[in-house]
């Protein structure tokens, strides 16, 4: 097992420019040409098509469901009402888009028609749609506190806050030092309230699963990035043995951004129940409206922050209060929102006295769920907005104030005994600012235009930190045609992990990356990886396991070539798949397979880490506001990001640019609007998704390498950590441009115009 040190080998191999170079994404050509086959492209011959009757009420008892009119339709093979589904389904619907009944039929249109034929009666129940109201003793009950429907690893909690009595999904508190004294010592104390929007992932490919039963084993074909957890949670909900759930990834994984990290109660258990009933594969695909209302959005969250600082800008105390909306089911890891909001301030700033309280509440809203840097994105928007307000109150420069309080390598955070490892945050600020200044524009001179700039710092850990040790395994197989097949726990949802795997194999073995095939993950594979491609762990821990296997393969090939060429193993160099001795004699690696191998040579690798290294970013935005319309245009964005080590700089730029897009949407555009739980814009005509036209004209990525000692080649995560600083950088620029602080994104043109033209300002 590799314990991952950046060693001599790395330095030696750098010259070959595989790890560290812009290898083109190995799946790009297929995807651009339309040849890639995603989950929704799969339609097995004997498959039945599911259609689901969804609730248009936000809270109701199901009194009666008459399926007979649906069953009478030719082609309908099965109809089930919710109480007859497998597992922990009950007879109540709890949000718009919740499931009442389902059909399996020989064609999708027949299934849709049959759904429309179902007769049913619901008795409406009182509903609650605000997380703060939901925890009150008088609120309607959505679920009992700390509901256990086998969804995620919850922990026991006791709540001392007497205001929090009902509908509690999760609760966290933390006190560090002496917050009261810290606030007393402060020269300035600033308080601010902030909220964050329900944002939908808007994945291009809507959720689609094919469920079939092989005897007592449920086989699901779909993209589920966290396969181990999904297995456990689906099994737990269906009340079967986790070993009896198998997940097969389609040839090409669909995009996720967290939207496909975990199972959805409205998808897999429904398809599994139908498939069990008819004993045939059943395909359930959501349409776009269901994608909005029957999966999950980013948790809507309310923050109250209070910070005390000395006159010269040293933070003496901070208090963070969080109320987050879990929605109707714990689909969605309210626990993680709370944990990440709790820890992030302490990961970024030196805060000697700190108090935190967070509650996640069940409501009759669309469930919250995983979404790129869950919790950290929400908290960082609030915190970095707040710190700008703190700096302004004390008359301090925004960057100087932050730099004075930032953590650094070796700093021991007060809530954990683990010192911070690699920490490039100060470099991120310095290099980001320099680049940002280079991109500064001349003034327009147009009185209708006002401009401003903003900065925000953010962080997110690599790996989820859910367990004390994270580990992964990999198997590499060299075959007689000279290709290496990689079996790993990774799911390439577009982030490029398959390319990184090919790079690592090529880098270590000397076999060209073009001859490395990365197989889609399947839980029928012979090794364990519980978490899959979530939490920016793929390159860090799966990449490390691949590297361990690749080193083993290279050593084996060296030994064999040494025997064949009659030289010492140290003297062998493998390049372009040919093992050569110093005298120029060479032998293709596939000819090193021996009769005892069968047709292939298989090696195994693994890696583990007890660390959860933090990846830092400092982002800068310049915005322009049209004062006559309130339109906000992000002109320039610099994402300066500490990635540990850049294995593929071009793909990192892709990640950063994608984060900028998601962050602009969070700040200025995207929100699933609910009116007492009823969606107002659950379609792509009314829900704003940005295009390249809303992207900044100038986008620059600064890649900072802090050399994470526990990561392969020094690498740590980039996909999720690049997300949190984006929105606050833009919101801080908007505040700078307008002189007004907007605390409740997304901020549309009308909101800006209304504020700029309000009487108070004139």
């Amino acid at each position: 097992m590799s314990r991952l040190r950046r060693d001599e080998r790395t330095v030696q191999r750098q010259s070959e420019r595989v790890v560290g170079s812009d290898v083109p994404k190995i799946d790009a050509e297929d995807k651009v040409a339309g040849d890639a086959r995603f989950g929704s492209d799969l339609e097995p011959d004997d498959v039945l098509y599911a259609a689901v009757l969804y609730s248009t009420r936000t809270h109701a008892e199901i009194d009666d469901v008459d399926l007979s009119p649906a069953m009478a339709i030719d082609g309908v093979e099965c109809a089930l009402a919710r109480p007859d589904f497998m597992g922990k389904f009950d007879d109540r619907v709890r949000h718009y888009g919740d499931v009442i009944a389902a059909i399996a039929a020989t064609g999708p249109e027949t299934a849709d028609r049959a759904v429309n034929a179902i007769d049913y009666d619901l008795t409406p129940l009182d509903a609650v749609h605000d997380a703060r109201e939901a925890v009150d003793g008088d609120a309607p009950t959505v679920h009992p506190n700390n509901l256990d429907i086998a969804q995620h690893a919850q922990h026991d909690f006791t709540i001392e806050n007497e205001n929090y009595t009902k509908n509690i999904d999760d609760y966290h508190e933390l006190t560090v030092g002496d917050p009261d004294r810290g606030f007393e010592e402060a020269d300035h104390v600033v308080t601010g309230e902030y909220t964050t929007p329900r944002v939908s992932h808007c994945n291009l490919d809507t959720h689609c699963t094919i469920a079939e039963w092989d005897d007592d084993t449920l086989v699901l074909t779909e993209t589920l990035a966290s396969h181990g957890r999904s297995q456990r949670e689906i099994a737990g909900f269906l009340e079967i043995d986790p070993e009896r759930v198998k997940i097969k990834e389609p040839p090409s994984a669909s995009s996720s951004f967290g939207g496909r990290s975990l199972r959805k109660l409205t998808v897999e258990p429904v398809a599994a129940s139908l498939a069990r009933e008819v004993d045939r594969p059943v395909r359930l695909q959501l349409d776009r409206e269901r994608e909005f209302v029957s999966t999950a959005t980013r948790h809507q969250t309310q923050f109250t922050l209070e910070t005390g600082i000395t006159a010269d800008g040293e933070i003496t105390a901070m208090s963070v209060d969080v109320v987050t909306d879990t929605g109707a089911y714990p689909n969605g890891v309210g626990h993680v929102v709370l944990k990440n909001s709790r820890d992030r301030p302490l990961d970024v700033y030196r805060i000697p006295n700190y108090e935190y309280e967070g509650v996640a509440a069940f409501t009759n809203n669309v469930p919250g769920g995983e979404y790129r840097a869950i919790g950290s994105t929400q908290l960082t928007f609030a915190l970095e907005s707040h710190l700008d307000e703190v700096a302004a109150r004390a008359g301090l420069d925004r960057i100087t104030f932050r730099r004075k309080n930032l953590v650094e390598e070796g700093y021991v955070r007060p809530h954990t005994e683990v010192p911070i490892g690699s920490c490039g945050v100060d470099d991120c600020l310095e290099r980001g600012l320099r680049r940002f200044e280079e991109l500064e524009r001349d003034e327009t001179g147009d009185p209708r235009i006002t401009r401003g700039w903003g900065v925000a710092v953010g962080a997110h850990p690599t790996t989820s930190g859910a367990t004390s040790e994270d580990s992964s395994e990999a198997i590499l197989t060299l075959t007689a045609d000279g290709t290496v097949t990689a079996h790993t726990g990774a799911v390439d949802q577009g982030q490029g992990i398959d390319t990184v795997i090919a790079q690592i194999v090529g880098h270590e073995t000397g076999i060209p990356t073009s001859r490395v095939d990365v197989e889609p993950f399947s839980t029928t594979d012979r090794f364990a990886d519980h978490l899959g491609s979530i939490a920016s762990r793929s390159t860090y821990i799966i990449g490390a396991a691949v590297r361990d296997a690749a080193i083993a393969l290279e050593r084996e090939l060296h030994d064999r070539a040494a025997s064949a060429l009659d030289v010492s193993a140290d003297a062998i160099e493998i390049q372009d798949g040919v093992a050569a001795s110093p005298n120029g004699e060479g032998i293709p690696v596939e000819q090193l397979l021996s009769p005892t191998d069968g047709d292939e040579l298989e090696v195994y690798g693994s890696a583990s880490s007890t660390e959860t290294p933090v990846s830092y970013g400092a982002h800068f935005a310049a915005v322009e506001v049209d004062v006559e319309t309130g339109d906000v245009d992000v002109l320039t964005f610099v994402a300066s990001q500490d990635v540990g080590h850049a294995i593929n700089p071009k793909m990192i730029e892709g990640q950063l640019e994608g984060a900028i897009q998601h962050g602009i949407e969070f700040a200025l555009y995207s929100e699933l609007q609910l009116d007492r739980g009823m969606p107002k814009n659950a379609n792509l005509a009314d829900y704003p998704v940005i295009s390249p036209k809303e992207m900044p004209e100038d986008v620059a990525c600064e890649i900072v390498e802090s050399n994470e000692q526990s990561g392969p080649y020094g690498a740590k995560g980039v996909g999720t950590p690049s997300m949190p600083p984006v929105a606050p950088a833009i919101m801080n620029a908007l505040a700078d441009a307008t002189g007004n602080r907007f605390r409740d994104p997304p901020i549309d043109s009308e909101t800006v115009y209304t504020e700029l033209s309000s009487e108070d300002r004139r």
């Binding site: 319309t629 339109d631 005509a685 036209k693 809303e694 043109s749 009308e750 033209s757």
Partner: protein, 287 residues
Amino acid sequence: MTEYLKPVDRESARRYLDEHRDSAKIVAGGQSLSLLLRQGLLDPDVMIDISDVDEFSGIETGPDRVSIGAVTTYEQLESHPVSSTVETLGDSVDVIADRQVRTAGTIGGAISHADPSLDIVPPLLCLDATVRIGSVDGERTVPLEEFHDGYMAADLAQNELVEGITFDGSASDWESNYAKHSRVSGGWATVGIASRVRTTDDRDAFTDVRIAAAAVGDTAVRLSSVEDALIGEPTDRETVADAASNATADIDPLDDLSGSAEYKKHLARTLVERSINRTVDRTGGVR
């Protein structure tokens, strides 16, 4: 089950519609219709797809008339010279939805759909366009301004369909523009303003002014209060700004997802001013 008919000539299209009347929906490009079908707001027994009818296709330019067939796509209009000579048309098509929609969506479909937010309508109102309507009884024409007679409502009998639109495109001394505000590029218009003006030879006074607005009421409308305030007046920015403030006299927007009525009124004034100024700038006049 819905019956899907695909006539290949005008006569059969008219005949099918006459047979099925209000149990049928016409499919031109399907870009608005398919949303309504998907949302379950429409469930027609018969769909009559006229996209293969040659007589309804293409753009004809004569010495003084431009005639656009109903199933002409936005993309075809965009790549036709008329989009350069009549700039408000080109401006408008440029900001309609996305390339996929522009490739399939049609001019006739838009006009028949009668959504007050459609970007193509204000430019056509500024061109005093006439709608050509067909049925088994023959053809009649109606000015576009009268054709849309209520929210998503059009002056069409049950057996009539839009076959094309015609306007006078001969005058080369007009300049025009379309200015749009939307939540995201390609999104529904919060407000859209088309302007088309003619000035004196020395370009310092307006001789003809046509202004029309989308997304400001039940139908797209001409803003005659602004037009009247400009005809014969100088083209300077102050005069334009004063006239633009009249924009709210002719509009009656509603609060909806794209914005409040108050904001839309403000945007209408702002965009009218901007659109006219851009149009005047296009005349090349010194101001």
